[in-house]
């Protein structure tokens, strides 16, 4: 095949880029015609008006994007807990969301019992450690080498147990997060930009900062420490890791505890924005589409995915939601992820899976 002249011309249509471009061009063309012929202005309301609004009131756009960014950071934090556990144990931990609630509830519950705020944080960390050890002993160890799907379903069990346990201990009523006692900033910064007022909550800025710090720390931990290397080894193959003398049990406790710490921080940040209740559980499920976008094993993927979902659903809700009655935030994230999946099943940063047989 050295002679270039004998090669068939590369099929332009086969290139995904060209294909996507053509499809987009076709859609734009059809829309342009459609909007002209459209009498009831539906197409106009969907495809033109929202963008006009964005251009006319850029401050609102910035505000919406910022809101999306902040909720995206929180989704990313929950997704991060998932990714940690999935990387190290291959377990898709459905209970991560409820761990966030549980950690936050424990913290607030302890404070209400009269424990000083920072001591409460320390004790909560202890509780999360105990939880990690318990889960390893009671759930993971007996289920080692079982199919992934069995472990996945076992985490449903953990979820339900923690819901019942948490409600029995702390009651089902929403609680106030002890943000002030933890010296988290309050209030808002108002910025004069783009001819309007954009209001940024200080707690949101703090959340973004803390999240970035934590992600950096985790990345360093994974990359440069002995335990981090062992974690990566376990992620690749349980059996191979065992055979070189890595203790699975120890690794699992570490990684679930790390996920517990991430859960506590997420819980504090989230609780400071709204309040602490089991309603968070439903919101925490939004971490799943984030994971789909980012791929299950990629920390950068979790972050980028979180931001895309967060911003996407806020923009969708603000500009398109009113067209169909609002409240589309509850499902838009899943549809964004679903649409994405159809084109890239392995996620943004995942590797293409080659099936072997």
């Amino acid at each position: 095949m050295s002679d270039i002249a004998t090669r068939p011309a590369p099929n332009l249509l086969a290139s995904p880029l060209v294909k996507t471009g053509l499809i987009l061009a076709a859609i734009v063309a059809v829309l342009a015609v459609g909007i002209r012929l459209d009498s009831s202005n539906t197409l106009y309301a969907i495809f033109v008006d929202p963008f006009q609004q964005m251009v006319q009131a850029p401050d609102l756009l910035v505000q919406t994007v910022w809101e999306g960014l902040v909720s995206g950071v929180l989704y990313a934090l929950i997704a991060l807990g998932f990714v940690l556990i999935f990387k190290a144990s291959g377990v898709f931990n459905f209970a991560q969301g409820i761990m966030v609630v549980f950690a936050a509830l424990t913290l607030v519950g302890l404070y209400e019992k009269g424990v000083p705020a920072f001591l409460a944080v320390v004790i909560t960390l202890g509780v999360m450690f105990a939880l990690a050890v318990t889960i390893e002993r009671v759930v993971l160890r007996p289920l080692v080498n079982q199919p992934d799907i069995i472990l996945f379903m076992a985490t449903f069990g953990i979820t339900y147990f923690l819901i019942g346990f948490g409600e029995a201990l702390f009651g089902g009523n929403p609680k106030q997060m002890i943000a002030e006692q933890l010296y988290l900033p309050k209030g808002a910064i108002d910025l004069q930009i783009l001819g309007g007022l954009v209001s940024l909550q200080k707690i949101d800025i703090a959340a973004a900062l803390i999240a970035s710090l934590m992600i950096a720390a985790l990345a360093a931990f994974f990359q440069y420490t002995r335990i981090g290397r062992a974690l990566r080894a376990v992620a690749d193959s349980h059996k191979a890791a065992l055979s070189v003398g890595i203790s699975l049990n120890q690794i699992w406790v570490i990684v679930w505890f790390t996920a517990g710490i991430v859960a506590l921080i997420t819980g504090i940040m989230w609780g400071a924005r709204s309040d602490v209740s089991f309603a968070l559980e439903i919101v925490a499920l939004k971490a799943l589409p984030v994971l789909i976008l980012g791929g299950f094993t990629s920390i950068p993927g979790a972050i980028v995915g979180g931001l895309i979902i967060g911003i996407g659903e806020k923009l969708g809700e603000f500009y398109w939601g009113p067209l169909i009655g609002g409240g589309i935030e509850s499902w838009l994230a899943y549809f964004i992820a679903l649409g994405f999946l159809l084109f890239r099943p392995q996620g943004l940063f995942g590797d293409k899976i080659i099936e072997r047989i």
């Binding site: 095949m1 293409k352 080659i354 099936e355 072997r356 047989i357």
Partner: protein, 271 residues
């Protein structure tokens, strides 16, 4: 069975028919990794064709291309006179290509009987509503196919494990059930991926006998991958040898055995 004393004397005795399948200039890449590079060969009706080569030579990938599980980037496959660049797995199955796998790929949760019955799926035509009733035509169809399946079970001598879940069977029996499942499709071309891997001598002899019987009694064309050279040389009419995704030899077992490049590939070359 009194099989022909094939190949022992050096020449294949059976007269083979026209070309059933031919692969033409197949190339397959995974990203930057070349699994197969520009390989061509043909399989004639009624023959036993062996594909051999060291580990990682691209043998299984070749079978995967033939039954449409992988799509080669270049080259074409001509099956029964039909030339196509792309083969879909179910189209290959409907055209009469059946397959067993290197690591047994049985349906572990199902019984032996059900596993082999799945092989009849394509031949069962009764619609959903008859199936939901499980009476009348649908039941008659089930029974007719059950009869065929029982013949295969007899042939492979696995009557005693008929109703056992296959997941718990010993490896040798699983391989046999898998062969049965492929036979249930009444294939024209049967692809066997290391049918004797991990078997003891006795099990290997049984499996060889089944393969020869299938070839003789049903006239099924067989392409097989095997590492046991004794088996390959005894069973096959023609052998194609792959190394690093390229074809390095093609011919009767004796020609291939004498080929210097094959010897080098297997024994290594002195540098």
């Amino acid at each position: 069975m009194n099989a022909e004393p094939m190949n022992v004397t050096g020449t294949p005795i059976r007269e083979k028919g026209e070309v059933l399948l031919s692969v033409e200039n197949i190339s397959l890449r995974f990203g930057g990794v070349k699994a197969i590079t520009d390989v061509s060969f043909d399989i004639r009706k009624g023959e036993i064709r062996a594909i051999i080569g060291p580990n990682g030579a691209g043998k299984t990938s070749m079978l995967n291309c033939i039954n449409g599980f992988y799509q080669p980037q270049e080259g074409q496959i001509v099956f029964k006179g039909e030339r196509r660049a792309k083969m879909r797995p179910h189209r290959a199955a409907a055209g009469g290509i059946a397959r067993t796998f290197q690591n047994v790929a049985l349906f572990k949760g199902m019984s032996t009987l059900d596993n082999i019955m799945t092989g009849r799926t394509l031949k069962m035509k009764k619609g959903f509503f008859w199936q939901a009733l499980r009476h009348g035509p649908a039941m008659q169809e089930e029974i007719a196919h059950r009869r065929v399946v029982e013949d295969i079970i007899d042939f492979l001598q696995i009557e005693h494990i008929r109703k056992l879940p296959v997941g718990k069977l010993p490896y040798g029996l699983q391989k046999r059930v898998e062969l049965g499942r492929a036979l249930a499709m009444e294939p024209e071309l049967l692809l066997l991926d290391e049918p004797m891997a991990g078997m003891n001598l006795e099990e290997k002899e049984d499996m060889c006998r089944f393969i020869l019987d299938v070839n003789n009694q049903f006239g099924t064309t067989i392409a097989l991958i095997e590492h046991d050279m004794g088996v390959v040389m005894d069973l096959s009419d023609r052998v194609v040898v792959l190394e690093y995704g390229r074809k390095i030899a093609d011919g009767t077992p004796d020609e291939v055995k004498a080929d210097q490049r094959v010897i080098d590939a297997y024994l290594g070359v002195a540098h």
